[in-house]
Symmetry: C2
Subunit: 587 residues, 2 copies
Amino acid sequence: MSYQPPVQDLMFCIKHLSHWDQVGTLGAYAGYDLSDIDAVLEAYARFCSEQIAPLSHIGDTLGSKFDSGRVTMPEGVVQAYAQFVEMGWQALTHPTEHGGMGLPRAVGAAAVEMLNAADMSFGLCPLLTDGAIEALLLTGSSEQKNTYLEPLIAGRWSGTMNLTEPQAGSDLGLVATKAVARGDGKYGITGTKIYITYGVHDLTENIIHLVLARTPDAPAGPKGVSLFIVPQTMVETDGTLGARNSVDCVSIEHKLGVRASPTAVLQYNDATGFLIGEENCGLEYMFIMMNAARFAVGVQGIATSDRAYQRALAYARDRVQSRPVNGQSKDAVTIIEHPDVRRMLLRMRSLTEGGRAMAAATAGLLDIAHHQDHPEMARLAEFMVPLVKGFCSERAVEVASLGVQIHGGMGFIEETGAAQHYRDARILPIYEGTTAIQANDLLGRKVMRDGGETARLFAARIVETEAELAAGDATLQAIGASLAQARGAFDATLDWMLENSRRDIDAAFAGSVPFLMLVGTLAAGWKLAKAALSAQAARDAGQDTPFLTQKIATALFFAQHILPDCGADHTRILHGSRSLLDAAFPE
Amino acid sequence: MSYQPPVQDLMFCIKHLSHWDQVGTLGAYAGYDLSDIDAVLEAYARFCSEQIAPLSHIGDTLGSKFDSGRVTMPEGVVQAYAQFVEMGWQALTHPTEHGGMGLPRAVGAAAVEMLNAADMSFGLCPLLTDGAIEALLLTGSSEQKNTYLEPLIAGRWSGTMNLTEPQAGSDLGLVATKAVARGDGKYGITGTKIYITYGVHDLTENIIHLVLARTPDAPAGPKGVSLFIVPQTMVETDGTLGARNSVDCVSIEHKLGVRASPTAVLQYNDATGFLIGEENCGLEYMFIMMNAARFAVGVQGIATSDRAYQRALAYARDRVQSRPVNGQSKDAVTIIEHPDVRRMLLRMRSLTEGGRAMAAATAGLLDIAHHQDHPEMARLAEFMVPLVKGFCSERAVEVASLGVQIHGGMGFIEETGAAQHYRDARILPIYEGTTAIQANDLLGRKVMRDGGETARLFAARIVETEAELAAGDATLQAIGASLAQARGAFDATLDWMLENSRRDIDAAFAGSVPFLMLVGTLAAGWKLAKAALSAQAARDAGQDTPFLTQKIATALFFAQHILPDCGADHTRILHGSRSLLDAAFPE
């Protein structure tokens, strides 16, 4: 099925939700106005829908193939990637001084969404390269930046993150890979890394691995981990490629989804590595750049959701089955006429657009925090990142599952394509930190650490939106009423969490994931409510398009069908901690 | 991973929840007491865990293979099925006069659960044969019964249901397969049937297809569909096998899950068929036997959930990762120590045991309804069947997804096995009537048709349980409080549904699936509450086993973590119908 990039909605989110009034005035983005951005996104949309989307099913069917240390990508991927490089798309959001286009993060989010909706397996390669670029920008020496950034930003080389080992997943303090200083400023890296996305492939002439490892005298635990650059092929001082480094791919995984994306087991045998920054600060550096990677995975969730929605919508408009329940027709109708199919489609749409609204807002906050000294915006940005990752990835699994359901029996047949989204989506709540890791980050670092100050700021902003909604028409008022109720559930839960952060820390963390989902749901509903206000303002100003009508309808549906989950999570958290902690698991 | 059949819990459910005080006194079951049943289930448990469970991963990996009209089952399945036949397991619940063992339905449910937990792909063959046996028992002529029942009940032949055609899925009134009377009492059947589970295989010497088709002068729609027996190989008057009938397998499907179970496209080319009952009554007959089939699919949901739970529990006990959030240990601990892993495990366990409790109760009601003239029990049984199917199948998808999540990155690797449950479970809310079909059945036929009388009877029974809980200790009281709140949400939703059944039928059906989930969740929570009462009574009588403690803990967890969903569904239904019905889907 073809993919229709949602450029209109992406532009609406950038204009109305990404704090464009502030982001647009930042010096870094002085060269761009909204019409430039629209032109860039339209061009990228064409590339994604025409060149990449057709690869998705082929790649899923063929998978990437491993043979004697080498990986062959599925048919068409090499050519498509070459075109991606030729058109310069990797450069989109990266700094102009290293060859980037320097576009704002909200535009980057829109681009990541479209590419990953077209084909998540393909999208993972640039996504990991973005991560490596981000890491080098933030922590690399100027020599390292000069050596690696230009070819990475051009997309000629790709990047990877080598964190996980068999015994060290969520807990990276357990990393055991060894890094021994050779005396010439270089290190010999030895160990096994697993789950390395695009750890080996035939798309680029070099792969730059960023590797967590431990020097011989490093302290145990998280404070003894360092970060290294380990190029697959050594780079000479003139920038040309030299000898192959001693890092080998042992195997690639046979996975539930994203099957065209090779997930490698890499063996480092005294491979040459270059220290980034200081020894023993590796995890700290990872945390700095993790925001971008986690945000991007949340956006992958929106992407998968939208593709699943588009597929289900097309099917529901086409498939004729059963008479309407109200008896208005004696003939069978297209299934989009049936109330429960509408319910499922609207859940899919409102969760997708709610995620997109939240991501655009967060991207704007991240930009302002990056370019200005604005502690409030910075803290809100930090608060929002685990929500984007946690909420959008968990909801993507639900949305993809609804997409299968709408297809009925056809949904279970692989050729239909709906099942691929259900399989692909399942990795999203796991990689770049599981949902529980996001929830611990939210509760521990973003809520408890400042005694709830940022969380109360977040709630206060929602109260402002409630007031605007209350001054609107009946529909906006209805959205406002549901929003106020959900925000009330949040306030009460927050009080309880803060109290238990002192009194009973286990009880607090017993509710961490329900809390994450409560806050994420509230945040998405809030941003959609703001979208409805903007849409109504545009209508009041004389515009009246189906898009604006639909946006308000989506926000209302979210308010009345998704926001009620906040109340259930509130109940679970406040009344469920003992039953959770005290239950035994007899042998 | 090995499968541990939950015989203790299955026996507990039969004893305390399946209305055993009444079922055990039915004449049909006079020969059996609980210790006989325990012995049968123990023997079947051994067969399932030792012979069948090891096939599950092999079958998923190899799949069934199609070549020129024939299907080869994966390695080991033919031998295991031969053993299944030799041990006579197909006979378990079928009438003794046709060679069955005549055990109660609750025992049958326990057996179906164990076999499908061991391997759902394997379990589907006997499940479909059970359906064909049920159909013949209810609607076959005595000649048909004499010809087909004995070999089906012995498992030497298998049965199939041929309902779906490309244009006729949920709406079987659109069936177009032709049945032309030949004048000798036989019919020539011509048409294409799809999604035929075990429509072709190499396990039995004959396959008995039950086929919906339409005679030339039949009225259009559901009242013109007749039901036919079409044997794959003709049966001579002496019971021996004759010529092959003209029904051919064109292909089998490439599916998301249950990959060892062949799903066939069957082509009938003037195949010889025998009418069951009267012409044009085919759908009526299908509805009579559908209860059993739908109930069995709900039990498959419990089965998949339990297998996913057992696998996740074993992993969580074994996998060491991260220090505890409360700082009690400086070392990493097994992940079962982490509150959110416990939360996920307890969700899996309580949803599994809640489904099992509900299924046992429903099996008892079906038995009483079948053997006695007890209209109240019969109506409650009818009310419960769509709940067992809808709730247990939808929740199985959630449980299997949690199972993947607990495994982290390992969950996404196919060799781990957790992903298989996630893939297998996805068919359950689709086949034998989608969740929306179950919800329409519940709302239209089981709630509105009698003006809510059965639904109020259901609620009144729960009120009785609430009173018992209120007289218990603090834990039982806490369960009772949550149950009362959920039942209150049900009462209010029911009133609204009944009012809208007259005023705004679309609004009512816009909430049909949330209503099904609300009632299913309430029913499971209620039955688990009754289980907790029985467990506490046993403890009060001097037994104090880990099993009883765990049962009460599970019921409390369900009450505090799952029952709160009822309130959210109540809100969605009462306040969300307009936003659902009025939203547009612009091109």
